[in-house]
Amino acid sequence: MSAPANATVADVAAGDAIRSLDPSIRAVWAIKMAAFSMFLFLPALFYDLTHLFSPDSWLPFGVLSGTVLVGGVLYCVAWPRLRYRAWGFVLRPEELYMEHGVLQHVRTIVPLRRIQHVDVSQDLIEREFALGRLVVHTAGSRSSDVVIPGLPLSEAETIRDKIKRFILEDPLTEEPV
């Protein structure tokens, strides 16, 4: 191998510093998770209320909905932070490197010349925060779309254009697959 042996991890992780996402993505995630928690909390509350006066109630009032509420709040507060801390990515001359995942740590390299096309997408909540999501499509089967969430929209678009230019200007004219 041409590269020195001590450059193993360093070579792929070095170069440009690994970047975080836009901090406001935490708020976006928190809102989405809050909506999800609500989805669980309302049925629990409904159950508690309907069994308020029944003599053979299974649990004392508020235990079920309270548990769900506390769990949901913790989830909404802690999880976005953890997820944000786990996310990092960097666009390098020939590849897109990223690492993410709270429970499951994932390191991914997407070689730029393997990218079939690039999208920037944005949902309703992300639009409020002017964030965009970079979606990179490859021909790989399990990683057919690789997503980087929570980039400032303009930045996501710049990255998209850079990747596009890289692909278009590739001197190798072979077919992608």
């Binding site: 191998m1 070689p111 490859t138 399990r142 077919e175």
Partner: protein, 570 residues
């Protein structure tokens, strides 16, 4: 309204290979598209005029729609003369009014033509579809002839391209000579596009290409290979038979034959264990026999040969399939065997492709059954394969992880059963039955050990080799130039033990059995991750340099696609 008249004049012109041009009158607006192309289209075999399918298609389509009619008319057939038959009569009439003209219309509105640049298929009655497939995108032209098609001398042509998950265009049916001609014409256009005229000249005799036969399977070999297979197809047959014949009548008949069957039922009632054994035995024998049957039907007369830079194969007893695999579209090689086959030294070789035959899920068998030497020789024909001498095992901790995981799953299944087991149900040895399920735990341990022993990897200069599987042993050979995306993952449990999972994604990789290296020591996994990517990058840097004569200057620091803003936190 069925305009049946235009269907008639076609029927004569279709039979002979140089098709007489006849165009459906309504497609005039779509035709003068490639006027410039027309000059070049005088090359041999260009079919500029839209062609219709073989008229026998009509007959076959009507034939395949008949079962629906039978179902509609079933009440009448059952008890003719009943007053309730009006609805099914009306339905039958509607069928006659709509379905048959629909078939006719579909046929009439379907046309295809082949120009040196593209294949154009127009179809649809109300919704016109005009699909054009660029010639150079066509990866595979598969000719399929099932039993009926063979009787009539017609064939189905499937056009497959990369990037689509299903067949891009299908001509169902054309005359068999026409099918062969289509393939030849498309091939020659592809070669023309590549500019290798010399190759085009000698390759027209490709159907007679006996010279480069790579694998020929005589019937004995196919039978032998079937003996190592197992199929549950017979279950389907049994159920179909039960559907067709009234099961009650069947039981009745068996009971009536009691005089002769007495001894059987006696044994069954007196020795239930024996009966179970006999049933299992019968199931195994039936499965084995139907395995042979399925295998012979599929691989009868299997032949694989090399045609320039493409592999071609032909096989099948009832349905004869002919397919092409361009060598440079092979994404990975997969060697498969099972413990029995391995004991006798037999292997199966598949290639992973993208956008090709959907039924085989992107994996195409190029050698159903051959010895190890032969298989490796074949693999080398496809790619330069340097099978590494030594494979690296994954971490031994994988046994622990797998054992704990499978035991947890078992417990999650059994404990609720223990809890909810009704008091009156079967108890064994003083405890309820589900407790005995934990008797499987030693077997789980054995399974985990087997999984560990069969899971290893090796990374060579030319590719990444992964072995995996207990009941089916797999060896994946992923060439460096076909690497796509690199992953190294560590779940929360793996992190406690310092392990990682390594996965190199390739195009068209299966989503179920895929080449993942599970539970590699973390440092090793990261090093391997980097090594694999660096090999990939070096290969392509070399190619860029070879193509342009200079290193890729876009990689210079100031040309790099840097991020626009670097004032981001951290």
């Amino acid at each position: 309204m069925p305009p049946s008249s235009p269907a008639e004049p076609n029927s004569d012109g279709r039979q002979d290979p140089p098709p007489v041009p006849d165009r459906p009158a309504d497609d005039a607006e779509a035709d003068p598209t490639d006027a410039a192309e027309d000059a070049a289209a005088t090359t041999l075999g260009a079919v500029r005029e839209p062609q219709r399918l073989h008229p026998l298609t009509l007959l076959l389509r009507v034939g395949t729609s008949l079962p629906a009619l039978v179902i509609i008319l079933l009440p009448i057939l059952r008890n003719p003369g009943s007053t309730e038959n009006v609805t099914s009569l009306v339905l039958g009439a509607l069928y006659g009014v709509f379905a048959l003209p629909a078939i006719l219309l579909q046929y009439w509105r379907f046309s295809y033509r082949i120009t040196p640049k593209q294949i154009v298929i127009q179809s649809g009655v109300f919704n016109r579809k005009n699909r054009s497939i660029p010639i150079e995108r066509v990866q595979n032209i598969q000719i399929e002839r099932n039993l009926v098609a063979r009787l009539f001398g017609i064939a189905k042509v499937k056009l497959e391209t990369a990037g689509s998950t299903s067949t891009e265009g299908s001509l169902e049916y054309v005359h068999q000579d026409e099918a062969r001609k289509i393939r030849q014409v498309v091939r020659s256009f592809q070669r023309d596009a590549e500019g290798s005229d010399a190759a085009a000249a000698n390759a027209d005799a490709e159907d007679a290409a006996d010279r480069d036969t790579l694998l020929d399977m005589p019937l004995r070999r196919v039978l032998l290979s079937g003996a190592f297979r197992f199929s549950l197809l017979y279950l389907a047959v049994i159920f179909t038979v039960l559907e067709l014949f009234n099961p009650e009548a069947l039981v009745e008949r068996v009971l009536r034959a009691r005089g002769r069957m007495e001894w059987v039922s006696e044994i069954v009632f007196s020795h239930p264990a024996l009966a179970i054994l006999a049933t299992v035995g019968a199931a195994i024998i039936l499965g084995w026999l139907s395995g042979i049957g399925v295998h012979v039907a599929r691989y009868y007369n299997f032949r694989l040969w090399l045609d320039g830079d493409k592999l071609r194969k032909r096989h099948g007893l009832f349905t004869v399939t002919e397919g092409t695999i361009p060598l440079d579209k092979v994404q990975a090689l997969i060697l498969r065997t099972n413990p029995f086959m391995r004991a006798f030294g037999w292997y199966e070789l598949k290639v992973q492709t993208i956008g090709l035959d959907v039924e085989e899920q992107g994996h195409r068998v190029i050698a159903p059954f051959a010895g190890a030497e032969r298989i490796l020789e074949l693999a080398r024909q496809v790619r330069s394969v340097q099978l590494p001498e030594s494979f690296t095992r994954v971490s031994r901790l994988t046994i622990r992880r797998r054992f704990i995981r499978y035991t947890a799953v078992l417990a999650a299944l059994l404990l609720p059963a223990v809890y909810f087991w009704p008091a009156g149900w079967l108890h064994l040895g003083g405890v309820v039955l589900p407790w005995w399920g934990f008797g499987l735990v030693p077997f789980i341990l054995g399974w985990a050990v087997l999984q560990y022993r069969n899971h290893m990897y090796a990374s060579g200069e030319d590719g990444f080799y992964i072995r995996r599987g207990v009941l089916s042993h797999y060896l994946w050979i992923l060439p460096v130039e076909k690497f796509h995306v690199f992953h190294a993952t560590a779940s929360i449990f793996q992190r406690r033990l310092g392990l990682k999972t390594l996965f190199v994604d390739t195009a068209g990789a299966a989503t179920f059995e895929y080449p993942e290296v599970i539970d590699v020591p973390a440092a090793e996994a990261d090093a391997q991750f980097d090594t694999l990517y660096r090999r990939f990058r070096r290969l392509y840097r070399g190619r860029v340099e070879a193509a342009t004569g200079a290193p890729d200057t876009r990689l210079a620091p100031d040309e790099r696609p840097h991020l626009p803003v670097d004032e981001a936190p951290e």
